[in-house]
């Protein structure tokens, strides 16, 4: 497909620590189409957040560093500019064409500036609005994300808002410049369960009302994926294990890890005493197995798994799996 919005090629982001080099993201390839909702799912430490922060070039350096790869956004190679130390390229895109919502709404807003100032800031910065125009636009955005009496509350400070309200403010802030890609890094993890669904719905609703931005949704919650995404990327230990559209993932998962994740979900109408789990622990990033990184926990482990790292195989159109068991689709 030639018209993808964002193309990530062989992205490698490493963290240099005293214990050695942690390969948090080790060769990730995927792309996002305009307007689609792509989910990245995986356990803690699978590299999903680092992937999203790498796209925004927000990896704290040191210790982190994007060591290899290309991120092509609307035809511009962001990482090529990064390697040239031309940070203006990403600065013009951040908050403007690509914006981001973070996991912690409680601390992601600056405590000493008013909500209005913070929403208006990127409008003044990217759209060249006057502070007056930006303020009016900010009120409009806050109304759009469902903040009651936005015109009065715009002069309040973050501590006067609840967690859910702050995440709404973050969404308003992120979507105010009409971005073409919105990265949402576990946007509902820190929220009350009752608020989570509201926020997800709101994101999709506001996206439809504004520039119909593509969304890269990072989560560890398969239910969230089922609810919102078109396509899913499953990550484990810094590598993509499986990519498919959401129906395929839920109905015919190929990778044992994806199968394990799905098996651990409770199923409505089915009476079980205990939910099934994936045995074992995520291996340390400093000490990954030589072959498939999932081999330490895999129930279908066989001969080559421990020594030969599996390649990505396309099992059906658009369905990629990194497993020795996966059978490539028959070429016609």
């Amino acid at each position: 497909m030639a018209n993808e919005l964002l193309k990530v090629k062989n992205l490698k982001t490493y963290f240099k620590t005293e214990a050695g080099i942690a390969k948090a993201v080790d060769g990730v390839d995927f792309d996002i189409l305009p307007g689609e909702v792509l989910g990245i799912v995986g356990e803690s430490g699978s590299g999903k957040s680092v992937t999203s922060l790498s796209i925004m070039q927000l990896i704290p350096n040191p210790p982190g560093e994007i060591v290899e790869g290309n991120i092509i956004f609307e035809g511009t190679d962001l990482l090529e500019a990064y390697r040239r130390k031309d940070y203006d390229v990403i600065r013009k895109i951040r908050g403007n064409k690509i914006s981001m919502i973070f996991q912690e709404p409680m601390t992601s807003l600056n405590p000493v500036f008013t909500i209005g100032d913070q929403v208006a800031e990127s409008l003044v910065h990217h759209k060249g609005m006057t502070p007056k125009e930006a303020r009016d636009y900010a009120v409009k955005m806050l109304e759009l994300v469902g903040i009651p009496s936005a015109r009065e509350r715009i002069d309040e400070y973050p501590h006067q808002f609840s967690g859910g309200m702050r995440q709404r403010v973050m969404i308003a802030m992120a979507l105010s410049c009409d971005p073409s890609l919105l990265i949402a890094d576990e946007p509902t993890t820190a929220l009350d369960v009752t608020i989570q669904a509201q926020i997800l719905e709101l994101m999709l609703e506001v996206k439809a009302k504004t520039s119909n931005a593509a969304i890269l949704l990072i989560t560890h919650d398969m239910a969230v994926i089922a609810e919102t995404c078109h396509r899913v990327v499953v990550m484990y230990c810094g590598r993509i294990q499986e990519i498919a559209d959401v129906k395929t993932i839920f109905h015919s998962p190929q990778h044992p890890y994806t199968q394990g994740l799905l098996a651990s979900l409770p199923k409505p109408g089915q009476k079980v005493r205990r939910l099934s789990t994936i045995e074992g622990m995520v291996p340390s990033l400093f000490n990954l197995p030589k072959g498939c990184s999932f081999c330490t926990r895999c129930s279908k482990k066989h001969e080559p798994c421990e020594n030969v790292p599996p390649e990505m195989v396309e099992t059906a159109p658009g369905h990629f799996v990194r497993c020795h068991l996966a059978k490539p689709m028959q070429s016609v």
Binding site: R91, R94, G95, F102, P111, V112, Y157
Partner: protein, 405 residues
């Protein structure tokens, strides 16, 4: 919120009484007080006269014995004749009427002494205080931004040195080295202005025109009976306008008062260099490190990442978003400005012989001049108590999260 501050103001009253009662009681019971000192002086005087005059006085006087009656009189003079709690109430009553008593050593009202010395200390202290903020904030910010660089490490060495040397100790050292005693003679050896400016001094070029008092017209002269015939007066003297122009001449020598405005300014600044340096040194380390740590901590916060994610430049993120937050602990310190300055002035003014509030306090302690000591305590504790409230007010102004109730 207002009720909070009203409560704070009301709480000042018992705090103030607590502080002063404790200190007042201590002055009543420690040995070596004014009565004992007066007795000692008397005994020394008696010993001297008996040696010199070969006195024929009775044996009690010879041994410097003081009669019970004299002792009672002495105690009455210094207010030691009543029980300490009664004396305290008397003292407090007078303080409430803005009467701090009369100094034993200066024989002047304590209020007048404090009013006279206070501005001197404030000029020195405030200059040092302002300068320390002007140096420490940019330095701390720069150290945080360049954390781990050679500049950061190098300046940390400076901070460690400054932290381990008290300001007044450095003052003694620098006075020895630069004040003409041992090595160089480029700063004055103390005081707040030059007493006498010789022809060799560079300041002599700022001396004004002058005249001899004898050349004043007689009727003007009679208004200033203190002027001696051969005494110089300068253009600053009110009588100078009456001197006939042919009698005026350019002064070659003179005092601080004979300099023109630029000269007086330069002379004062020249005297301020070392003391102000010591004030700055005293606050340098802690303030720089506080600024650096505060900014470092804020740079790691999530909202800084949000600001970067908005596409703002590093400069905007650091100086608008992070700095605003990290200045909060620094700015609230401003409330204690005056009490910090006065606390620092004791030893620095002693070292540089600056006739200010600190030196007054220091000497009153040495001489057991309790009215002055207690007067300074009253002023100091009032400033401290008001400083606490000021800090809270500043907190409310700069941090929207803080609301007292």
């Amino acid at each position: 919120m207002y009720s909070y501050f009203i409560r704070r103001f009301l709480l000042m009253i018992p705090t103030f009484i607590g502080i002063t009662f404790l200190c007042f009681t201590v002055t009543r019971f420690v040995p070596g007080g004014p009565v004992e000192q007066a007795v000692l002086r008397y005994q020394q005087a008696m010993a001297n006269t008996s040696e010199g005059g070969g006195g024929t006085s009775d044996s009690a006087m010879e041994q410097g014995q003081i009669s019970e009656e004299m002792m009672q009189q002495l105690k009455a003079i210094y207010g030691f004749d009543k029980p300490f709690y009664i004396a305290y109430l008397h003292w407090l009553w007078r303080v409430l009427h803005f009467d701090l008593g009369t100094s034993d050593t200066y024989s002047r009202p304590v209020w007048d002494l404090i009013k006279e010395k206070f501005p001197i200390s404030i000029i020195f202290g405030l200059t040092g205080f302002t300068l320390s903020y002007l140096i420490c904030i940019p330095l701390g910010v720069w150290k945080a931004v360049k954390h781990g660089s050679a500049f950061d490490t190098g300046s940390s060495v400076m901070v460690f040195i400054a932290y381990s040397i008290p300001g007044w100790t450095a003052g003694v050292l620098l006075l020895m080295l630069l004040g003409g005693n041992a090595f160089l003679d480029i700063v004055p050896s103390g005081g707040k202005e030059s007493g006498y400016i010789t022809e060799k001094s560079k300041l002599s070029m700022f001396l004004q025109q002058g005249a001899l008092a004898v050349d004043l017209p007689a009727e003007i002269r009679s208004q200033y009976p203190k002027l001696r015939d051969n005494q110089q007066i300068s253009a600053n003297h009110p009588a100078f306008a009456h001197v006939p122009s042919e009698k005026r001449f350019q002064l070659k020598t003179g005092g601080h008062a004979d300099l023109n405005f630029v000269g007086r300014l330069l002379d004062s600044m020249w005297h301020m260099i070392l003391p102000v340096f010591c004030y700055v040194l005293g606050m340098f380390a802690s303030k720089t490190v506080l600024m650096k740590n505060s900014l470092m901590e804020n740079l790691g916060q999530d909202y800084v990442r949000t600001a970067f994610a908005k596409g703002l430049s590093e400069r905007t993120v650091i100086f608008k978003h992070a700095l605003r937050n990290s200045l909060i602990p620094i700015a609230t310190g401003l409330g204690h400005m005056l009490s910090i300055i006065l606390a620092g002035s004791y030893l620095i003014e002693k070292v540089f012989n600056i006739n200010g509030f600190g030196l007054l306090g220091y000497e009153s302690l040495i001489a057991r001049d309790y009215p002055v000591t207690l007067g300074i305590l009253v002023i100091g504790s009032m400033l401290k108590l008001f400083g606490n409230i000021m800090s809270d007010v500043l907190y409310c102004i700069i941090d929207p999260r803080i609301r007292f109730s």
